[in-house]
Assembly symmetry: C3
Homo-oligomer: 317 residues x 3
């Protein structure tokens, strides 16, 4: 792989999942692959799971890791072409990316949407400038519109627990939240599930919460809280803000929270969430603490997903 | 060792001190013991010496180290059971600890008391939730009521400089301070000294500054600044706020500062402090810069104390 | 080398440049030289390039790296001798440096000038206290008056691209800026160029911007924007605040910005800057993005400069 920004960068999806599962069994099998090489992790926005799991994955391959927290380290970056930099931005993204490319063999970049201007967010300006100006392969650590490392970990988790001999039925189910959240996780999850030939995807969400067409075409779409639950092998719970009324919170109906009552129709389904999760707002205590939840194993699989991606990118250097 | 929260987790105290002293001579003797394993260090409160010495100790055993600064990294954690998380806390401690347990083989946790509610502080709620929900062995990096890694380093320092052929006479001596400080260091120090059969402990403090009964029973207790000084082999200086009038500052009498005048009665005593120390408030310049102070060597021993503990915990995995 | 605070600590300057160039070719040639040893990087002020390049250089020599951000980690340090520490400073620099010396075999320190009191700044109080109280060799990561790791990287870059068979003609050229910046980079650059016997140095700056005498004696001095440009093999662009009217901004004339128009007189000159650079204030887009700019390679050379210095200091331990 020459970059990892979305599922379209993956040429052999089943092979990538297999590699992740192999690395889970033998984490140190390639411990010298990254010897003498460095990955830089640039965070325009905070990160916990992604930072830790990517760091661990890199170290298990012998890579050095450099971390830059753009806001925390006081590194204010100008992103506009042609700017006269007489304000408070001390460095242009051309030099920021260029210097990181001098220091690192691979770059991971995290950048969130502002949820104000849809066109800007979906243009993925910052991510693409790093690709353009760093001169080294770039890995998305979650961008404005996608979170491919999360989606790969999700697919690995589904592969581990899927029914044998048929496609897994997966329901991506919207849930309420107190804050307006990006569409990156559901977009990316849908994109990966629709690409996999081992998954049958449905998406359920209230009126106004349809994802962008490119992320939902091919999925079954439901609009009632109870729809699709009984048939699912996996229920992937996630809040997102509206794509249509961009960045808005249109619904807070607690009927969309996944609790033990609505899950009663399907005691065999596995419940997934990318974490962090607001307890008793998004999913109830009883479900999260019950036998159907696989959220911790799913978080654990972030390591092997990241390690598989770094392995493929190191191999292509 | 399966956990390291207090001295009661140590089965062979002299053996642990010996191991620390052996590691001080041969820091790389076990440099591959932690190969492929990871320790996570979770800081609810700032840390300098503990962070650095534990990081160094871990690396000398071949461990990977992940650091999470809860406040600095903007990770706001809900600790109440059953909470409806519709406020500003984004993650529950059940998932926070659970995910860390997925990523790490050992976890270190630092959490301070609030010094408002004594019962809450002494219940060590956060520390115990990490033990309960992480699923991996936990090391205290200082908790509300104890600082066992500091106490082990203190005992190592005393062992190195103790008189031969008899118990060391150790005086834990209260000192003034401008801020209300936890009792964790003196509690823990007293607990370790009282457990060691090579130490005879006295504690001196003004009226109102008695430690909790479980931390002082068995020690000689004095209440005058000059008491016990002449007989001590070691004077361990430390401020703490009142346990009885919980978290209060009751006394600021400079007669309790350890200076060259009051130390004149005992030119052979070694002066200890866990650092950081307020010069000319807690201990005078002349004492800190004089030949009786061992505070820097004591800080240096933090590495070997941490390495001995990590060694024992890795060996028990 | 026993310390690295300025060019006067270097006994064999051409040899040090050669070592950096050798390490650039074979970064892992000495990957076990620092085994079991630790460098501490203490930042009183923010750092990006210096932190990353020094970290990388250290790791390529097998050193462990400990990073302390004094302000960010909430570590407020008293630097005055004899202070009664009853204010907000929790630790004295004597203990801060002393403890770091216990934990580390080498210490790097970054500290900026306040640009208010020239005598104080040029006395380099903090740097010298670390030298005095840490007990281990100290490396400047940029101090109030010098930035020797930058200057070595600059000299390495010049060596790589210099004309054969004669001295390189180097012009250090002042440029406008919106903030008052230290003189550390130009002071240090001038000092290194004047020490090298392979460079002929000129400095151009507007009235009021003369560097301190010890940093300019021996250089050709110009006071017009166009002066010296046509003859230069290298144009090193950099803003600094006034030394004479200490810390003041006296000039903002855009004629001093290096743009394609003024560079037209010399299409063979290489353009250097230490970065970060304010585009279209200090240097124009066309120059930075054009074929004469070597600023990214120059930033890349920071790694090999730092690695050469660490190599020499490890070898002298």
């Amino acid at each position: 792989m020459k970059q990892f920004l979305s599922v379209t960068d993956v040429t052999d999806l089943p092979g990538l999942v297999d590699l992740a599962l192999q690395l889970k069994k033998e984490p140190l099998a390639f411990e010298r692959l990254g010897r003498g090489k460095t990955i830089g992790l640039v965070f325009f926005n905070p990160s916990l799971r992604t930072r830790l799991s990517t760091q661990l994955a890199a170290r298990k391959l012998g890579l050095e890791v450099l971390v830059m927290n753009v806001q925390q380290d006081g590194w204010s970056i100008e992103t506009a072409d042609g700017a006269i930099m007489n304000g408070d931005k001390a460095e242009h993204i051309r030099e920021a990316a260029g210097v990181m490319g001098q220091y690192c063999d691979l770059l991971g970049v995290r950048t969130f949407p502002d949820l104000i201007n849809r066109e800007n967010d979906y243009a993925e300006h910052i991510l693409h400038q790093f690709v353009r100006f760093s001169g080294v392969p770039v890995i998305s650590l979650e961008s404005a519109t996608r979170h491919p490392l999360q989606s790969l970990a999700d697919l690995v988790t589904i592969r581990e627990k899927a029914p044998v001999g048929r496609k897994a039925k997966v329901l991506l189910r919207w849930a309420p939240h107190v804050k307006a959240l990006p569409q990156a996780v559901p977009n990316s999850f849908a994109e990966w599930m629709l690409t996999s030939d081992q998954v049958d995807l449905a998406i359920s969400y209230p009126k106004g919460y349809a994802l962008a067409p490119e992320f939902r075409t091919g999925a079954h779409l439901f609009h009632e809280p109870e729809a699709g639950l009984a048939e699912a092998d996996f229920v992937y719970v996630k809040n997102w803000s509206s794509y249509e009324q961009y960045g808005q919170i249109l619904n807070t109906d607690p009927a969309w929270m996944l609790d033990e009552k609505c899950l009663k129709v399907n005691p065999g389904a596995k419940v997934m969430h990318c974490l962090p999760v607001r307890r008793n707002v998004v999913i109830s205590d009883a479900v999260l603490d019950g036998p159907q939840s696989v959220v911790l194993e799913q978080a654990g699989n972030r390591i092997w997903a990241a390690q598989a991606v770094l392995h493929q990118m190191l191999s292509a250097l």
